[in-house]
Symmetry: C2
Subunit: 269 residues, 2 copies
């Protein structure tokens, strides 16, 4: 399979840059007249994918809302990932996994292999060190998939840790940027993307020379704006993929309203 | 339900302190003559629980190895958690989840609620800030469950981030200890435990005054030793729960051998 970063570039050239979150939260489901059950979650996810699947480049299912329904919810997640693939968009599965050694390999196999829960890309959490994520980067490289590693997140509680200063004299978040850059240089392809919240006045990290994709959540409910992204991200703005969940879902379930809202949030330059 | 920390204290007084990891890794399964399938994982988990369930205080299933088998693996994880409960041990589900807001609530509901995947305690990862984990701590408090938050992990790649210095002038790992202590003071019960690897010459953090449990992985394959724990953990040594996975599994599948190996690794003073 072609490298994930190339596939995403081709798709976003055709469709613009927007990632639609699939977060079947009980309040969101209620807004669509749906129950907080597996069947309700399935109608919600299908509604988003059917309305937007040929219009947007990427969907980001949030694993937590599926896991909350146990194994039946996880089975639904597998069907949602397959549905995303069927409409020609890419799936960025928001799992924020991070572990070590053979455990990290098992997570990579679960989400970047060829099984029921295979996604085009996953989010990863680096508390155990960027280096511990290597098994996921290796399987992503082998299978044409991608990873987005948390660097600077959109929530207010994240700053204390992410702005701590490492022995290299940079922030923890900047250290993740540096490590992702190094991994991409080694791989010869922008394998590792970053997650950087859209809620900061500036991105909080120096992205000069970073050649991967940046997933930017926090638009809408968390206070980030689409129009603020160019100022926040500067040089990498054209590789920023804004991720919007509740603000789009709240315009549904009517397909035309979903399409209009998504179109208004899509970056095309 | 009684608070998790009390239930664990009662159990460890009777059975000693040992947490047996349930990590159905392909190499471990092969050592038991089992295939790396859901059925193989089930026979492995059942074998450990049947041999050790009335002898040890806690089991720690590693979610990654179940998720690698998709929704059928996750359904098996639910059965394993029920089996652990049935033998009177506690389950510490190693999921290392960490997210924000309603997403963190959904993870809490998945693993600390009353559904198919309910565990007695879970591991959490604080890259998005200890404060972001609050929904899990709240549900744990309400339901008599516990959490173990990653502080200083056993792997070599973790040091750069975990030893970075926060604005408070302490390491990231120490900041997690401080936050867990504060959360426990607020809750009036040692709700929040910590994960601190057993592979360090000292624990790397100041645990003075910490009244929660410490889960200490890294014994065996990663180089930590049971006899090194007293020196590493000092004052909190009697609330250190060593976690051992491969070293015990490798002595199986013969039940007597498993029991002997577990007994040799159990702390009783």
């Amino acid at each position: 399979m072609r490298p994930f970063a190339e596939r995403l570039a081709t798709l976003t050239e055709a469709r613009g840059r927007l990632c639609v979150g699939i977060d079947p939260h009980s309040a969101t489901l209620a807004g669509w007249g749906l129950d907080d059950t597996v069947a309700g979650c399935e109608r919600f996810a299908r509604g988003l994918i059917e309305a937007l699947g040929e219009q947007v480049a990427a969907f980001k299912p949030q694993a937590a809302f599926f896991e909350a329904h146990g194994s039946a919810g996880v089975a639904l997640l597998g069907r949602v990932l397959a549905d995303i693939s069927a409409v020609g968009a890419v799936s960025i599965l928001d799992v924020k996994r991070g572990d070590i050694g053979s455990t990290m390999q098992a997570y990579a196999r679960a989400y970047l292999g060829d099984g029921e829960l295979a996604a085009d890309a996953v989010t990863l959490s680096p508390y155990l060190g960027f280096g511990a994520l290597a098994p996921a980067l290796e399987l992503a490289a082998a299978n044409g998939r991608g990873v987005f590693v948390l660097a600077r997140t959109s929530n207010p509680e994240g700053g204390g840790l992410q702005q701590a200063i490492t022995a290299a004299g940079v922030s923890v978040a900047q250290g993740i940027v540096v490590a992702a850059n190094a991994a991409n240089q080694t791989a010869g392809t922008p394998l590792a993307g970053l997650v950087i919240g859209a809620t900061h006045a500036d991105s909080g990290v120096d992205l000069a020379g970073f050649d991967g994709w940046v997933l930017a959540p926090g638009i809408g409910a968390q206070g980030g704006t689409i129009t603020g992204l160019q100022a926040s991200f500067g040089a990498v703005y054209r590789r920023v993929l804004p991720s919007v969940s509740r603000e789009i879902a709240a315009s549904g379930p009517e397909p035309t309203a979903l399409r209009d809202r998504a179109a208004a949030l899509t970056l095309t330059s």
